[in-house]
Amino acid sequence: MFRSSILICGGTGCTSNHSQEIREEFIKELKEKNLENDVAVIGTGCFGLCAVGPVIIVYPEGAFYSGVTTADVKEIVEEHLIKGRLVERLLYVDKHANSHVKALSDTNFYKKQTRVALKNCGVIDPENIDEYIGCDGYQALIKVLTEMKPQEVIDVIKASGLRGRGGAGFPTGMKWQFAANQVNDTKYVCCNADEGDPGAFMDRSVLEGDPHAVLEAMAIAGYAIGSHQGYIYVRAEYPIAVQRLNVALKQAKEYGLLGKNILGTGFDFDLEIKLGSGAFVCGEETALMTSVEGHRGEPRPRPPFPAVKGLFGKPTILNNVETYANICQIILKGADWFSSMGTEKSKGTKVFALGGKITNTGLVEIPMGTTLRQVIEDIGGGVPNGKKFKAAQTGGPSGGCIPAVNFDVPIDYDNLISIGSMMGSGGMIVMDEDNCMVDIAKFFLEFTVDESCGKCTPCRIGTRRLLEYLDKITTGKATMQDLDDMEQLCYYIKANALCGLGQTAPNPVLSTLRYFRDEYEAHIKEHRCPAHVCKGLIQYKIDPEKCKGCSACSRKCPVGAITGEIKSPFTIDPMKCVKCGQCMATCKFGAIVKE
């Protein structure tokens, strides 16, 4: 019987911050102190507060330590685990309360969240099936196989109001119903874990922290629609997630929870993992299935929809990782429980990956209907360094920017679309006054141009032309006519592209045009970048009043553009300057300014 548990985050963020070494150090240290049978060392999935990683939690006290290094391990063992004294200096500091917080559950970051899809993330060891079972794991599958008819399962999912968490928000129960209605011996269940949006890592965290929840839900889906084979399409860029999925799959098969005659009930369901090699378009459902089949990942026109003619031409359902992560709990706790959370048309919760100019970078799960203000200020801890919030980007390259005026709009599928963005898979990138909105639009367009598969012309050529317009604007060479033409092109691409990727590609441009047209016009009419980002429109200058003539900037300048005599003000030659900004970062006196 263990007296204490040390939970060490094994998500990708903390792993890159050496959490594995910390884990090994704990095991070594505990062995030295003869505590290896008293204290359990458990690697878990993401706790959510990636910004202050590596993070560990010591139970039963629930002490939440952040920014831990291997050098701290000895102190935690000797002070906390032997003598029961918390190591104050390592406790997480809550910016709101400006004090050390003992437990993760006491932080503002946690208190305002509702964890459904992330229920087990950061609580259990994802590589130990027994821990998952201890948290009621596979009970939903047992319930479905022993007590429910397939149609009853679909009815529960329908009644819960669950909508697809991949972004488009199609009702999950209806999708299952379509596939169940098809008469065919062979049907497939697929899981979309090809999370390609820049800044999104929700699906990765679920797979890393709670892989069995996805496997169990897929087996339930198989039972509901009459399928005996499933595929998980996961991107190869997620090595930890792939490895944990493989471990989970092996354990589930050993326990007879997947495979032939599951738990002696006569139901067969097997799963296979397919690796994607990083093409963004493979997150689109028809392209994903083409890729699973072994072909080049390209979309095809719909209809026929996958529920009718999907993988290998058979009826197929394809759901996102986070959608599956909700299924087991809906089965166990009931549709009413799930639909009691959220707004009228968007039920349940949504996981967001918070990134960009925000204090608490990390993973949060909120009930639908929470406002952007609550997410950014209360949970995210606000914009750091006293800067002003400008906009939040949701939905990745398919989404748009939500400006500060919409701070109090409740977040759900329909509201986000009405304000020109979309839910997307759940990346949320926060921008402050130092971000140029034209530059942001350009960044996403560059991504789409790179990732366009090339099958249809509006996307392949249209997005490239769009990027050229943006290039012209950010270098100050565009006219107002260009701006109008660009807007027209956006609508043209939206109307004519083959798949969702192309149809939504102009969204970043359209939404920034809608809310930040003044910034576009400043670039065109005044040849000025208000946020001082676009290199073609800014100049670095030295304030002679503040310059002490130390020559630090001059020595750092890679092109030798800064000259002057020691102890008298230096000057920058604008013809030579490449606007790398290194001088500004070097100057200790704040003498270098951008204009």
Binding site: G62, C135, G137, Q139, Y255
Partner: protein, 120 residues
């Protein structure tokens, strides 16, 4: 391959382990053992283990056994604080393994503090 009964058995076994990690409930009884140097010297480790084992053995729900540092009266160690929801905190002194079992039996399970062992 496992049967449904075996899966349920694993669940019951693991639940007591995982319950340790639940910090959300405020309505639970806390047994806190002073584990400063003074406490450890006076035998607090054995007392702590006795409490953990008893709670697990009797499968008592809603009870958390925790360590704390020196409670300030080193000559009275091992000291044990028991907080039952809705009641005032009481402190036991000079606790040993035998007393620990008694405290679980009489105080935790039957709700009657053992006056003879309390700090005066």
């Amino acid at each position: 391959m496992k049967s449904i009964a075996e899966i349920n058995a694993i669940r019951d076994k693991m639940q007591s382990q995982i319950k340790l990690r639940d910090n959300s409930k405020t309505e639970e009884t806390h047994i806190v053992i002073g584990m400063g140097t003074c406490g450890i010297k006076a035998g607090a480790v054995a007392v702590f283990n006795a409490f953990v084992d008893e709670v697990a053995l009797k499968q008592i729900a809603g009870v958390k056994v925790m360590r704390s540092g020196c409670m300030g009266k080193c000559d009275l160690e091992p000291m044990v604080e028991v907080t039952v929801p809705g009641k005032e905190k009481v402190t036991y002194i000079n606790v040993d393994e035998k007393k620990a079992k008694e405290i679980i039996e009489k105080h935790i399970l039957n709700g009657k503090a053992i006056d003879a062992y309390l700090m005066k």
